[in-house]
């Protein structure tokens, strides 16, 4: 970029000082090692370090489904502008074991610095530090190496020892003394050996770094969440953990029942009392909830289902990311009833969408699905949340006269009443009359079908008039259609390469907001999604007739690398 100083400055210690020819000031830090070596923690600390410089960050953690050993890595990309994705090539890579070294030694930018453990890696390229052998002098050598990443980072970005000390005292409180001593050893070694430093320019403002699981939990809580039910399953578990940890502060009760069937049925029972309920699961667990989902449709229960996607089918790849359940999420449960599905396009948007779905479930007394992915729930970025934007509908309550749970109304939505009440409140899984009694009468069956259809029509009217159902970013052709967390990858690719196009992201997928999408018919279209069969493309074609000239799909469990994605988009744009 002209002017140069927009970019990272690079110092060549033994060759004067030059400016790194980058068109952007993105700096990427990679730390890799075995599970248990604290790579995720090191990523978080690095992110906090960048954030203290008022820079924006995006952190992604990559880990297999195991507890000790294996190969974990954390990627943190930072820029003074807003940043929506990690980059796969690092400016600084710290690799703590042979496996990480083998996998990542080439994942460097042009002037990238590679630091590895010379005890573990023989004849490595880059800067070897005797990390494991230095660690042997400490009480817990396996744990202590976690601090390596931050010590090396401090040296490489030219932070002095005082800054490093403050950081370690704050972030590594457990056995802080040992951590400090070890960090000094690493820092001094690194200082001696590194030939290149990066200066990170300060940004303008700072916002807290939150993971998608946190913004979802906070958004639901803002909209009135009282009870959260979940059975552990990646990638929904972080929401359970977050809400359990913040239960008192947020006034939320978390419950871990025996299985997903109990989860969903308990949540419906809780909703019957007027407590706002939500469940969290992933594909397999959501399969087990199908019957209860349909029950929620029938009794008109107000429950939000979080569905976190990972690569399927079946058990699939538990700790990675995919968007293979879009079509599955649109019609869960047997029978005809209104369903709501929305998928947030960023960690920030997840806050608003979680809140809005709780609100919609309560307005329309029907189950709603918050569809997301591992990439969104478990990655972190700076978020600027505006709590004032959150709506929490006071439900349409019964006020006077004889109470009928399923009273016919113009909107199809019947007023609510919760026990204890002098009036009888019957929610019924069988087809029922207005009072809630079981019925097999032909006219009752037809009438209740019409009531639920009317509710669906009211829901669509409300979405059309009151809800932002589609996001649009940028201008010009082509239109790049995408959804969910892939939106972040697309937006970052566009920023990275300075592409000219219109990114179109349907937030709502059911009811599908065709009313906002028909205007794109006839324009040059591209669809980007993280699945193999092109589910968004099918949906777009079916609902709007939009037929893309090109599809970009990635289905290896990994989120897009914005650099590669930009390359592919550029080919299409021409």
């Amino acid at each position: 970029m002209a002017g140069g100083l927009q970019g990272c400055k690079t110092f060549f210690i033994n060759g004067g000082y030059g400016i790194k020819p980058m068109n952007d000031d993105v700096f990427t830090y990679l730390i890799g090692g075995k599970a248990g070596q604290g790579t995720k923690k090191a990523g978080i600390v690095a992110a906090n370090f960048f954030s203290a410089l008022k820079r924006n960050v995006f952190q992604m953690n990559d880990y297999p489904s195991l507890i000790r050993g294996g190969h974990n890595f954390s990627l943190v990309s930072t820029a003074t502008r807003k940043i929506y994705s990690q980059y796969m090539k690092a400016d600084l890579a710290v690799l703590l074991d042979q496996r990480s070294y083998t996998i990542h030694r080439d994942h460097l930018t042009e002037n990238g610095v590679l630091v590895y453990d010379s005890t573990a890696v023989k004849q490595g390229q880059g800067i070897g530090l005797p990390i494991a052998s230095l660690a042997k002098n400490y009480a817990d050598p396996d744990l202590i190496v976690g601090v390596t990443g931050i010590a090396v980072l401090a040296a490489v970005v030219g932070a002095d020892r005082a800054k490093l000390d403050t950081l370690i005292q704050k972030e590594y409180r457990r056995s802080a003394e040992d951590n400090l001593k070890f960090a000094h050893e690493i820092y001094d070694e690194a200082e001696k050996k590194i030939t290149q430093r990066f200066e990170l320019r300060e940004g303008k403002e700072t916002h807290p770094i939150l993971a998608g699981a946190e913004t979802i939990g906070l958004g639901a809580s803002a909209a009135g969440l009282d009870l959260y039910f979940a059975y552990p399953m990646t990638p929904s578990t972080p929401i359970l953990h977050f809400l359990a940890a913040q239960a008192k502060q947020l006034g939320v009760v978390t419950v871990q029942p025996e299985n997903e069937i109990a989860v969903a049925n308990m949540a419906i029972g809780a909703a019957f009392t007027g407590a706002r309920s939500m469940v969290g699961t992933s594909g397999g667990g959501f399969c087990l909830m199908q019957e209860a989902f349909s029950l929620a449709g029938m009794v008109e229960a107000l429950v939000v289902f979080f569905l976190g996607q990972r690569p399927g089918p079946s058990t699939g790849v538990p700790t990675y990311s995919e968007q293979g359940e879009l079509l599955f999420s649109l019609y869960p449960g047997q029978g005809e009833f209104p369903r709501i599905v929305a998928s947030p396009g960023s960690i920030e948007e997840a806050f608003y969408v979680a809140a809005e779905l709780l609100d919609l479930a309560w307005r329309f007394q029907t189950p709603a699905i918050l569809l997301s992915e591992k990439h969104l729930t478990e990655s972190s970025m700076n978020v600027d949340l505006d709590i004032e934007k959150i709506r929490a509908a006071a439900p349409d309550m019964h006020t006077s006269g004889i109470y009928q749970r399923y009273r016919q109304t113009e909107t199809g939505v019947s007023p609510l009443l919760f026990p204890p009440s002098d009036a009888m409140i019957k929610w019924n899984s069988y087809e029922h009359d207005e009072q809630g009694y079981t019925s097999e009468e032909a006219d009752v069956i037809a009438r209740m079908h019409v009531k639920r259809r009317t509710k669906q029509e009211s829901l669509i009217r409300y979405l059309r008039e009151k809800v932002q159902t589609v996001n649009e970013y940028g201008t010009g052709d082509p239109c790049v259609f995408t959804f969910g967390s892939t939106t972040m990858s697309v937006r970052e690719a566009v920023l990275h390469a300075g592409l000219s196009c219109t990114v179109v992201q349907p937030i709502y997928l059911q009811p599908f907001p065709s009313w906002n999408l028909m205007k794109y018919v006839g324009r040059k279209a591209v669809v980007v999604e993280q699945n193999c069969t092109g589910q968004l493309e099918q949906l777009l074609r079916e609902k709007t007739g939009i037929t893309p000239i090109s599809s970009i799909r990635q289905f290896n469990g990994r989120p897009f690398n914005p650099v590669d994605l930009a390359e592919q988009l550029r080919k299409v744009i021409g």
């Binding site: 906090n48 700072t206 916002h207 807290p208 770094i209 939150l210 906070l218 809580s221 803002a222 009135g224 009282d226 009870l227 039910f229 913040q246 502060q249 947020l250 006034g251 009760v253 419950v255 029942p257 025996e258 299985n259 069937i261 109990a262 049925n265 308990m266 949540a267 419906i268 029972g269 809780a270 909703a271 019957f272 009392t273 007027g274 407590a275 706002r276 309920s277 019957e291 209860a292 029950l295 009794v299 949340l385 709590i387 004032e388 929490a392 919760f418 026990p419 204890p420 009440s421 002098d422 009888m424 409140i425 019957k426 929610w427 019924n428 899984s429 069988y430 809630g436 009694y437 079981t438």
Partner: protein, 284 residues
């Protein structure tokens, strides 16, 4: 007989069905519970799917007519939502020990403060008489005309071993006795299980056998082992409370005196707390 607890729903049980005895016992229990300070509006019911479940339509109480095998989870959710409510569910033997056995075991294990009344007729009656989890070996039904090849489950000993803090057996043919059991079960704080011997006049007519074998026990067993012994008796069928013990209940262990539906935080308070959380996160 029509009374103030009769609903407009047409009763479709077979004439002579044991379910009538359970319905009548429950109707007798309601005013007795009111005498104990549990008013009707705080009594919330659920039911599974099967002949037994129709009882949901036959009493004018609030509740949620659940799925097959899931009503125990439903009422646990209701209790967690608003612990001021007294929750009770009816279930069939197929519901409780076929489809929903995991919920039964866990409700007992965590001592959820709910009452489960199982209409145990040893058959899937509404689907025309297949063998059920409690059918005896040799029981003949349309899905196994040559006779059931499985041993039956013993619901009482299973619930005792799972940790139920109140376990009783009643008989649909002893209405007053059953009514008192229901009252005691609802009053008991913790997981209360009542196994009701229920003849199915069409598919498993056991009136004669039960009339000859049931024997009222006056006092629960003092020790769990003795209660299990009682549950395993077949020469006589003891009815009454087999076991009763006081233990901490699930919702109180989970959140103390909180009540999610009643104490729910107001919108402004929630916003304030989230703002606090966000500013703390920023300072970290």
């Amino acid at each position: 007989m029509a009374d103030e607890l009769t609903t407009p729903a047409e009763n479709t049980w077979c004439p002579g069905c044991g379910n009538f005895g359970i319905l009548n016992a429950f109707k007798k229990a309601i005013p007795k519970l009111e005498q104990h300070g549990i008013d009707r509006k705080h009594l919330v019911i659920s039911a599974g799917i099967g002949c037994h479940g129709k009882i949901f339509d036959y009493v004018p109480l609030s509740g949620l007519y659940s799925l097959h095998g899931r009503s125990m989870a439903t009422v646990q959710g209701i209790k967690l939502g608003n612990p001021d409510l007294k929750v009770l569910t009816f279930a069939g033997d197929g519901d409780a020990f076929g489809e929903g056995i995991s919920h039964m075991i866990f409700a007992a294990k965590r001592n959820a403060d709910i009452t489960v009344i199982v209409h145990n007729n040893g058959t899937y009656a509404l689907t025309t008489g297949q063998f059920s989890p409690t059918s005896g070996k040799g029981f003949k039904g349309p899905s196994l005309p040559s006779g059931n090849v499985e041993e039956p489950l013993n619901p009482l000993s299973l619930m005792l071993e799972a940790g139920a803090s109140f376990v009783a057996r009643g008989y649909a043919g002893r209405i007053d006795h059953l009514a008192d059991l229901i009252v005691e079960a609802v009053l008991h704080e913790g997981f209360s299980y009542i196994d009701v011997l229920q003849p199915s006049v069409v598919f498993n007519n056991t009136y004669k056998e039960y009339n000859a074998l049931v024997e009222i026990i006056e006092k629960p067993a003092g020790r769990l082992e003795d209660a299990v012994q009682l549950a395993k008796r077949f020469d006589r069928l003891p009815i009454g409370v087999l076991y009763k013990v006081s233990k901490p209940v699930y919702h109180k262990e989970l959140y103390g005196k909180w009540n999610p539906a009643v104490n729910r935080l107001m919108h402004e308070e929630r916003k304030r707390r989230i703002a606090t959380y966000l500013s703390e996160r920023l300072q970290k």
